[in-house]
């Protein structure tokens, strides 16, 4: 009884969504919430994530004054910038090129039906306040980055919903930036549905640098059509509790999917990456690479699932997760899963956890490097294959700068 109050207390502060496209999903979402509490660690999806802190956190009940200088959080200076500040969306004020349409999600008539996996996804369907829709028309190549910056301040709590649709043969790069500025606890849940059309190329960079009081949840659900190429890089650099749920439905043949992730946390922070690649058709390939460096008492969770349906012959799916623990009290929980119902496939996964090799450090030190430089060199080398996948130069600069500040390094690009 006590517990069931926690979730209803939490959800009571949100008003029902006014996004029309979400209404058809409301029944499914409500079924997830009815009589349910915050999931405990006995629930498989939350086995390693304790939500007690979130359940007991205090959030603002009414509107919060917007900060005036939110523009400073933009990473890519020449991007079409869309700001979502405490649930209030600001569209770019410049002229958009032909074939690129950006508007508020509330004016979108229908949205793809998303998979509701837990109470948070359910609440997003019911309570999403705002968000943005980006459409790229057929055959258009957008050469400037589209950056969606989510800013949370004070004790904001809210749900947002974005939709990206990339039409046939179009190409675009999208940057999702997550930041917060506050001294109090904040909660944000952002769902992004992404449709990648035939032969389209979409590159998403996701940079999470929220402060250490932030409960940051985000779901991305992707539908990929034939011959499309989709890459997402999830870069988690900060945040109290960060949970990423990536669900990719590969629905067209010869599609290519790349999922990369890097997480680097300290303090008592927690990052959980849940990924599902659902191969529904033959002749596709997916590559997944997640790497993490965990310091202090931080906790990382990786749960990657590759699902190969019965008809998805000639699927090549690779999954890899590597972790380095650089403190005595950090911990890692890794669960790479394969669920395969087709026989003509090549699927593999690997997972490693360890610390820096003493002998390698000794080797470098014997050649005159200080202990700090030796470690810096090895950790950079460890991360480099993920960092090399970043396609937007400004993001690379930002990531290196953050890492340098964190470890007091002088790393150069």
């Amino acid at each position: 009884m006590e517990n069931s109050n926690k979730l209803s207390q939490f959800s009571r502060r949100f008003s029902p969504t006014e996004i029309k496209g979400l209404l058809p999903m409301a029944d499914v979402a409500r079924a997830f919430l009815d009589g349910n509490d915050f999931p405990t660690t006995r629930v498989e999806r939350f086995k390693y994530t304790r939500l007690t802190k979130l359940a007991n956190a205090q959030f603002a009940s009414s509107n919060i004054a917007l900060p005036s200088d939110y523009h400073k959080h933009q990473i890519c200076s020449d991007a079409f910038a869309i700001f979502n500040v405490n649930g209030k969306v600001f569209l770019p004020d410049t002229n958009l090129p032909e074939g690129l349409h950006i508007h508020l999600i509330s004016s979108e008539k229908s949205l793809p039906t998303s998979t509701v996996k837990d109470v948070f996804a359910g609440m997003n369907v019911l309570y999403a306040q705002s968000g943005v829709c980006v459409h790229v028309a057929k055959n258009r190549v957008i050469d400037r980055v589209i950056e969606i910056i989510h800013v949370c301040t004070d004790s904001f709590a809210g749900f947002s919903r974005n939709h990206l649709s990339i039409a046939e043969n179009a190409q675009v790069k999208v940057l999702l930036t997550f930041v917060s500025e506050q001294t109090k606890e904040c909660f944000s849940h952002v769902h992004t549905s992404i449709q990648v059309g035939r032969q389209a190329h979409l590159n998403v960079e996701k940079v999470q640098m929220e402060s250490s009081d932030m409960f940051s949840f985000s779901d991305e659900e992707i539908w990929q059509e034939a011959d499309s190429v989709f890459q997402i890089n999830t870069l988690t650099l900060d945040g109290n509790l960060v949970r990423n749920d990536l669900h990719i439905q590969v629905q067209g043949e010869h599609a290519e999917t790349h999922l990369n992730g890097m997480y680097m946390l300290n303090g008592q922070k927690h990052v959980a990456n849940y990924t599902t690649v659902d191969h529904q058709v033959p002749n596709c390939e997916s590559h997944e690479l997640y790497k993490g460096i965990m310091d202090d008492k931080s906790v990382a969770v990786f749960n990657g699932k590759v699902f190969v349906r019965k008809d998805a012959q000639i699927t090549n799916a690779y999954q890899s997760n590597a972790n380095v623990l650089i403190s005595d009290e950090a911990s890692v929980n890794s669960k790479p899963e394969l669920e395969i119902y087709a026989d003509d496939v090549k699927c593999s996964h690997g997972s490693t956890t360890g610390q820096l090799d003493d002998e390698a450090i000794f080797y470098l030190r014997a050649r005159g490097l200080s202990e700090k430089s030796a470690k810096q060199l090895m950790l950079t080398a460890f991360m480099s294959d993920v960092l090399d996948k970043i396609t937007i130069p400004a993001v690379r600069v930002k990531v290196f700068k953050t890492i340098n500040e964190r470890f007091n390094w002088e790393l150069e690009l």
Partner: protein, 482 residues
């Protein structure tokens, strides 16, 4: 000459019948169907058990009543009706045999069909067999020879009568009665099993072996095995299973506990070939087993299993690496065919410093079967310099079967080194081509590749067992493996 294709192989696999399906017609002494406190008291009384064991059973039963069946495994089946099972069945002739000649000839015939003619084994291989037929031991050989060394190898009920202090001390210490649903059920109603104690510093001179067999219709088997290797001792223990063909599902919920004291080593090998159901997926044994070993300082426990039978398997032989420098190993080949479902793997719990574990798991799925590996590697804070290596490979033989991998890797110590890798594929056309190009027929090539694929695990089996394991693989995947 027509080549032997993979499709033909798949066809052969589907058509093949269970070779060991026969019922031995021996009058059995069965208690009424159902489960309640009275039945438990009756079982305990029939076995002439001491009061503490009855209390243990009743306590476990009370716990079991509060528990629900686990549903997390990747298997789907009609849940057994726990009130529709006879919980005790013993062959009528309760008198112990003085010599091998006294044994019922029909039972000897059964063993012959299993390919373990006792006389031959006694003479040729030096294996002591504790043959369990429907819950009661009927023959134990080499007892004297083992007795000289102080090795105790007997049925569980004999151990309760003759060595109550050892049983009481160790029983439930590795698998507590409240561990899980089936372990609790076993603790409440277990009928018999094997007990083995190797005294300090003794290296058991022969492989100890038990053949389990499910016989009388509608009898669930609830075996309990306890193996204790005292300081510096060594034992290699073999367990093998076959079951007669039957249409209703049979439940088997065994508990196996291994205790390796300081510097001891236990090698536990299993060949499991219970009735897997027919090719429509009708019938077959439910195999819900809890196996766990406790390793003290510098001890080693090695699990090797070849799983080819059962309709539904739910089995995770585990090691608790409690002592510093202890070692846990798990080698497994799991073959599923037709509608068989297997969810099997291991748990390696690292608690001590410098503990090491190795996991090699090979799955082969054919027909419409589902084969899952589920494993846990847990490195706790205290486990400095722990080391784990896991490798899980799956081989898919048809396009209707499934192979799944669910590894859980939890690391709380930065000095640990954990590696996990898994692959899923079918027999590569390039591999087949390579063999055939060198004049090997397709059938032989497939056989060669499957054999090579399992070699790492089969090599771990004791020689006597390796022969049978290869036979079983051959029967399970007939037409391809020789």
């Amino acid at each position: 000459m027509a080549g032997y294709t993979e499709n033909e192989l798949a066809q052969d696999l589907e058509n093949q019948e269970y070779k060991f399906g026969f019922v031995t017609d021996i009058e059995a002494d069965t208690v009424p169907i159902g489960l309640n406190e009275d039945i438990i008291r009756l079982i305990s009384k029939k076995k002439d058990e001491p009061e503490w064991l009855l209390e243990y059973r009743l306590k476990a039963f009370a716990i079991w009543k509060e528990m629900t069946e686990p549903e997390w495994a990747h298997v789907y089946y009609q849940k057994p009706d726990f009130q529709g099972i006879a919980y005790y069945s013993a062959p009528k002739q309760t008198k112990k045999y003085e010599s091998w000649d006294d044994v019922d000839p029909e039972m000897k015939e059964t063993m012959k069909k299993l390919g373990i003619s006792m006389e031959e084994q006694q003479r040729l291989t030096g294996v002591a067999v504790d043959f369990v037929m429907d819950s009661v031991s009927v023959a134990t050989s080499f007892k004297e020879k083992l007795g000289e060394l102080g090795v105790i190898f007997c049925s569980f009920s004999d151990a309760v009568q003759n060595h109550p202090e050892l049983v009481r001390k160790h029983m439930g210490s590795v698998v507590p009665m409240a561990d899980n649903f089936y372990a609790a059920l076993n603790a409440a109603v277990f009928t018999d099993g094997s007990f083995c104690y190797i005294p300090k510093g003794v290296r058991c001179p022969m492989e100890l072996s038990t053949y389990f067999r499910i016989n009388a219709g509608g009898t669930g088997q609830f075996e309990r095995t306890l193996v204790v290797a005292d300081e510096g001792a060594y034992v290699s223990y073999l367990e093998g299973c076959t079951a007669p063909q039957r249409d209703e599902n049979q439940l088997h919920a065994a508990v196996v506990e291994l205790i390796a004291m300081d510097h001891a080593e236990i090698k536990y090998s299993t060949v499991q070939n219970w009735y897997p159901g027919d090719k429509e997926g009708k019938g077959g044994v439910f195999n819900f087993v809890t196996k766990r070993g406790m390793c003290h300082t510098r001890a080693k426990i090695s699990w090797t299993q070849v799983e080819t039978g059962s309709a539904v398997t739910w089995k995770y032989p585990s090691c608790i690496l409690k002592g510093d420098h202890s070692i846990g190993e798990f080698y497994s080949v799991a073959v599923t065919n037709n509608y068989q479902q297997a969810d099997t793997g291991t748990k390696m719990i690292h608690l001590g410093k410098n503990t090491k574990s190795t996991i090699i798991s090979k799955g082969i799925s054919a027909g419409k079967s589902q084969n899952s590996y589920r494993g846990l590697v847990q490195i706790n804070k205290s486990a400095q310099n722990a080391r784990n290596f896991s490798q899980c490979d799956s081989l898919l033989m048809t396009d209707e079967c499934g192979a799944h991998t669910f590894p859980y890797i939890e690391c709380k110590n930065p000095t640990a080194k954990i590696e996990h890798e898994a692959t899923t594929s079918k027999i590569g056309e390039d591999q087949l081509f390579y063999c055939m190009q060198r004049g090997i027929s397709e059938e032989k090539a497939i056989s060669l590749i499957v054999n090579g694929y399992c070699k790492e695990v089969l090599n771990q089996l004791p020689m006597e067992f390796a022969v049978e394991a290869q036979k079983l693989l051959a029967i399970s995947l007939e037409g391809s493996v020789g």
